[in-house]
Structures are given as C-alpha cells and as structure tokens.
Amino acid sequence: MAITLTDSAAKHVQNFLSKRGKGVGLRLGVRTSGCSGMAYKLEFADETGVDDLHFVSGGVTVLVDPKSLPYLDGMELDYTREGLNEGFKFNNPNVKDECGCGESFKV
C-alpha cells in the first residue's frame, strides 16, 4: 500500500509548506460528492489524526484517513503546468470513470 509524489510534486509541496510556515504535511482523502460520485480532498495538514496512515514520499509526509485509502492506494500525485494554469494532478489507478473535468470520479 503506498501513495507517492513525483519529484515535481514533492518539491512544490515542500516549498508551499515552508512558505506557509506551519503544517506537518499533506492530507489526501476522498469524499462522496461531485458529479461522478467521489471527490478528492487535498489540504495542508496541521495535525495528525489518531487513525491516520502515514506515507513519506520525496521528503513529504502524506496523511490519509483509513476510509479514503482504498480509493487512493497506489496513486501518484504530480504537479504539472497546462498553459497558464498549474496545479496538482492525481494519477489514480483505482479510477474507472471520471467526470469531464476530472474533479470527481468513480471506482
């Protein structure tokens, strides 16, 4: 079971965390909403929950709650640029179907 960050993603997360000046790492998760059923959660983490699973990738601590993990297991988080836009991209092997914009998905 693992969640990984690409070099680019890890570098950006570290940069954002250091500029933000606080936070223990990155929290990933899913919740049920959106046009295709599930939506990603991507947040700074200020504290660790008791049930949280920890992954360290590229020097970044990633926290995932146990309920979300099955949806995210094996996923790679990337940071990419598309035209003027830039941001994080989820390469998630569990996804069977996603809405046009990719913000929500089905497994």
Binding site: F16, S33, E43, F44, T80, E82, N85, G87
Partner: protein, 623 residues
C-alpha cells in the same frame, strides 16, 4: 483532468465550486493580477511570462481595442487614441485636471467625469480602466481555469468617494465582482504580513514610474488606519531616466533630437538605470538616426550624484507626512518599499538613513500591492478558516451634514472602521417647517464651504409643528468599500428619504490630499481668521465711537493738539485694519484707547455732571 490546489485544513472545495478570487493592482503605469495558490500569494503572468500589464489602452477605428504592450508600442505613433495614465482621470472633472497641456487627448467635459474623444468614440476613464481590468480578468480565468467569484482592487489611500466609485464601476464594467476596494499601502503592509503583528506604526514608501506616495499606517487591533498621506504626483522613476538622458546629451554634445532618437535614448537610459542596481558601472550604446554612435560609460557613483536631489525630493513629503501624523522617525516600526523605482540602491540607502532602519525589500516592489490584495481577496472569498480575522479598512475623510450657519456636523469621523453605520437626530428650525434639505459633505474642516459637497437631498412631508419639535433621524451607512448611503427619517410621522451618494466628481487629488493632511494646520488658520475678524469688528466699532465723540465734544473738551493726537491715532488704527494682522490691529486698538483715555474721562465727567446738576465726579467720592 483538472489541476487541484492545496486547501487549508477542512476547506477543500466541492468539485466545480472553487472560490477563485484575485487581487488586482490597477496602477497608473502598470497593472497586475495575483491570487493565492496552495496557500501562497503569487502574481499571475501572461502567456509570454510577463507579470506587468502596461496600463495603456489604444482605441482603433474598427472598434478593436489594444491593451498593454501592444498599445504602448503605438503610443508615439497614435497618441490621441492611445490612453495612458487613465487612473489620473478617474472620477475627475475637466476642471480638476490642472495640467492638461502635457497630454495629447481631446478631452470632453461631461457632467461628473471628463471623457476622452477617440477614433472609436467618446470614452470615459471608467471604460478605459475597464479594458485593462478585462484583460487581467481573462488572464486570471485562464490561469485558474475557472470563473472568479470576485476581486479585491487597490486604490491610493487618498482616493475620495468619486474616485473609488469610478474604480468600482470600471470593475463592474469588466464583469468583475468587487469583494472590496483596498488602500494600496494597506495591501503592501498585508503582503509583508504586518497585519499579523499586534500593533505598530508603519511607513509605506511608494516610488512608481511617475508618482511618489508616502503613507503612514497605524495598525491596532487588526485595523490599518491611514494616519497621513503625502507625495508628489510628478516624481518617479521616469525622472531618473531623464537625468541620465540629459547627461548623455551633454556628454555627447547633442542638442535637440527627433522624437525617435529621444525615445531610443530614454529607453537606453532606463536600461542603464536598471543595470546599475546590480552593477557598479554600465555602458550605453546607441545608433542615432543621423548615423552618430553613442558609447558612454556610466558609473553608479555618477548616477547617484546626478540623481541625488530627486531622492532628496522624496524625503520632503515623508517629513510632511510624519509631521501631519504627529510622529517622529523613532515611532516608525517598519518601512515597506513599493514601486519598481525603490530597487535603486541610492533610494534604499536614503530611506534607510532617514528612518534609521533597513526598509523591507524582500518582496518584489512591483508586485507587493497585488500580492497583498490577493491575500485579502482569498480571505474575503472564504478560503481561510473562520478564526483568521478579517482585516478592516477605514474611511479616509469624515462624513457629515451641513447645519445652520454653513457649519459641518460630522456624523462619521475619519478613520472609523468600515463597514459602519451611525445615526444622529436633528430637528426643524422654523415653526411649521415641512421640509428639510440635507447636504452631505466630506472633509475635516468646520465650514461647509471648505469641505467637499457629496450630495443634497430633501426630506419632504414633515407634519407642521413648532420649531424643534420634529425629530429627524439621519443615518449614515458606509459599506465595506467606503461608499455611502444616507437616509433621513422623521420619527413621528415615518416620512423618509434616502440617497446613495453618487459623487459629484469635483475635487482634485491635490485638494483631497491637502484636506487630509492639513486639517490641523487649517484649524490654526481658522482660529487666526476668527481672531482677525473679531479684532476688525472691535476696531470698526471703536473708530465709529471715537469719531462720534469728536464730533459731539471734541471742540469743547479738547485743545487742537489733543484732537490732532487722537486723529493721528485713529489713522494708525485705520492703517492697521488694512493689514490682515490681528496682532497689529489689537495693538492699534490699545493705542487709540490709551490716547483717548483722558478725553473719555472728560466726556464721562461732562455727562455725569450734566446728570448730577453741575457737581464734579470727584466730589462724589466718599459719599
């Protein structure tokens, strides 16, 4: 798939519901847009990687509009249709713009705000600014891949209601929802995180391309008050380029150049100025249209010498601002540098020496205002947790109404945090009065004539009653952008009238700045004027009284020499009256009183003896 940004804990947006908000620095020379991404405020670049959008709009005959670099490139070729510095005209009437000689535009005087006649028709400065905002909005929506929920737009601290309203109108025209207008120096202070400190007084030194502004801000309990602003609307980085240009002409024995060569050398001068921030010397080369080559070396030292009085000229307004705020250099906790021209080492050194501390320069001075605006926009859009308090802003000048005798009654004092609402009760002045005219004014002075008139409206239908019986409640409401709503309610009958202040656009920047800065000094002036009027009234009364006395009793009670002496003294007072010096008048009054003391005694004796039937007043002593 969509690209996601990291949210604050617990604030992940639902799909398709990202609260995208931007901060916009709508500048005189350049404009920028910034946003908070992954918790960090960043400026959004255009497709060519440029952050700064020149605030230049060119109107074409076919109805197309060019904005930014492409418009700027056509500035000398098509000056009439290429509008630069539209910000200077926002909310201004033609009479406010004193110096129209230097600009090539065909102004049209319109009620409220001046307009510009272009090949594409008559355009108001609001429309010109909206073109700039549209480009920034499109850039932001492309970069953020979504629609904006709103924007925070910055304005100079000294902008009045008319200028703020015009800025808001421009945003609306560009399809932007204005979350808040924010003072530029306040935005710069936020970018540096100064709002996280508990309190303190900060100076914001803003030297842009063509303008210089100094603001003294006081932070207390999360509120930035603007204590004083000052500046010079005709001093900026361009003047430094000009100095190098003149030096080039002199060194190369060049006289009048054509427009193209002038432009070329100014561009070279600017490049060498920028080069000298990093290097001790720089070379300037240019090939003029006549075939001459220019090749000169400029050292940083020489540049500093030739520009030192420009630097000194910025410190003059700084001193005035400190004096207006009633503060000393030691009271300033931090100095924020804004504007590209503050990159010049001699400017940084002069500011450091003046304030006896190292100014804050680690953020890009061109971007700092936009970065601060973006942070504020992010908070207002709801992307920060609720325990982050909301930074408040203040109204720049007191708001009030006119009362009997042309006096101002302040209802909301300046530096009140906004949004705010205050009410005060007024009453009728005459028996049976059924209407009341409400005149809304803005300013610090006691007399309405010295303040700015914002609006007038009537409350009608007050039931007739004796003077002073009606109770009229006047409510002033200022929204978060500093815009004003006034309502009047007669509480007995419930008749009501209200107005949203559509400002009359009538005051120049310099006047606004003066009103803000000099309220103390004017208080002094007002006092002196009153003292003078009082002495003048006293003097006129005395002259009249003495004149009458001389006519009645002069010949009888005074010899020729005595009369001459009194007449000479009266002439002295008349002469003093011609001066506007209340002290001189006071002295002349005293002198005339002294000269007439025996005459007055004699007259009193005479009238008393007349009344008492011939006895001398001294005879009555001891009675």
């Amino acid at each position: 798939m969509a690209l996601l940004q990291i949210s604050e804990p617990g604030l992940s947006a639902a799909p398709h519901q990202h609260r995208l908000a931007v901060g916009i620095d709508l500048g005189t020379t350049n404009s920028l847009v910034a946003t908070v991404r992954n918790g960090i405020s960043v400026v959004l670049n255009d497709a060519e990687g440029r952050a700064l959008l020149p605030s230049v709009v060119r109107y074409l005959a076919d109805g197309n509009v060019q904005v930014g670099e492409s418009a700027q490139a056509m500035q000398s070729e098509d000056p009439i249709n290429t509008i630069i510095s539209a910000k200077r005209f926002m909310g201004r009437g033609l009479s406010d713009i004193r110096d129209t000689l230097g600009v090539p535009y065909r102004f049209v005087d319109a009620p409220g705000m001046l307009q510009l006649r272009t090949v594409a028709g008559v355009k108001s400065p609001v429309e010109v600014s909206a073109e700039i905002l549209k480009v920034l909005r499109a850039r932001a929506e492309e970069a953020l891949a979504g629609e904006l929920v709103g924007a925070v737009i910055t304005v100079p601290a000294y902008f009045d209601d008319a200028q703020r309203q015009a800025t808001k109108d421009a945003a609306r025209l560009a399809g932007l929802n204005v979350l808040r207008l924010l003072n530029e120096p306040t935005a710069a202070a936020i970018a540096y995180g100064l709002d996280n400190a508990s309190e303190g007084v900060y100076a914001v030194y803003d030297l842009g391309g063509g303008t210089f502004d100094i603001s003294i801000l006081k932070l207390s309990r999360g509120v930035f008050e603007v204590l004083a602003t000052n500046g010079n609307s005709a001093l900026g980085g361009d003047d430094f380029d000009q100095r190098i240009y003149c030096w080039l002409l002199e060194k190369n024995n060049l006289s009048a150049l054509n427009a193209q060569d002038t432009r070329l050398l100014l561009t070279r001068a600017r490049a060498s100025k920028e080069d000298l921030t990093k290097h001790a010397e720089t070379s300037l080369t240019a090939l003029l249209s006549g075939g001459e080559t220019i090749n000169s070396m400029l050292t940083r030292q020489d540049f500093h010498v030739m520009s030192q009085n420009l630097v000194a000229n910025t410190l003059q307004p700084v001193r005035r601002a400190l004096r207006d705020a009633g503060l000393k250099v030691e009271d300033i906790k931090g100095v924020v540098m804004v504007g590209g021209s503050t990159r010049m080492p001699q400017v940084q050194r002069a500011v450091a020496e003046f304030f006896r501390q190292t100014p804050l320069t680690n953020l890009d001075p061109d971007k700092v205002v936009a970065l601060g605006a973006a942070i504020q926009a992010n908070v207002l859009a709801g992307n920060r947790s609720a325990d982050d308090w909301l930074l408040l802003d203040v109204i720049p000048l007191s708001l009030g109404i006119e009362t009997m005798g042309g006096l101002t009654e302040k209802i909301i004092p300046r530096n009140s945090t906004i949004p705010t609402a205050r009410a005060q009760e007024f009453t009728t002045y005459k028996d049976g009065q059924t209407a009341m005219s409400i005149h809304v004014v803005q300013g610090e002075r006691e007399l309405v004539s010295d303040c700015r008139s914002l609006a007038k409206f009537d409350l009608r239908g007050i039931p007739p009653m004796v003077a002073g019986a009606a109770r009229i409640r006047i409510t002033f409401q200022v929204d978060a952008d500093g815009l004003l709503n006034v309502s009047a309610l007669e509480t007995g009958s419930g008749v009501e009238a209200h107005i949203t202040v559509k400002p009359s656009y009538g005051l120049s920047d310099t006047e606004i700045t003066r009103m803000l800065q000099d309220s103390n000094q004017h208080a002094q002036d007002d006092m002196l004027a009153r003292a003078l009027r009082e002495q003048q009234v006293d003097a006129e009364q005395l002259i009249e009284a003495v004149e009458n006395a001389l006519v009645q009793d002069g010949a009888e009670l005074l010899n020729q020499a005595g009369q001459t002496r009194i007449r000479a003294s009266m002439d002295g007072l008349r002469a003093a009256l011609q001066t506007a010096d209340h002290q001189a008048i006071k002295r002349a009054i005293a002198a005339l009183n002294d000269t007439t003391v025996t005459f007055a005694q004699a007259r009193m004796d005479k009238s008393v003896s007349h009344a008492l039937g011939g006895r001398k007043i001294t005879d009555l002593e001891g009675v």
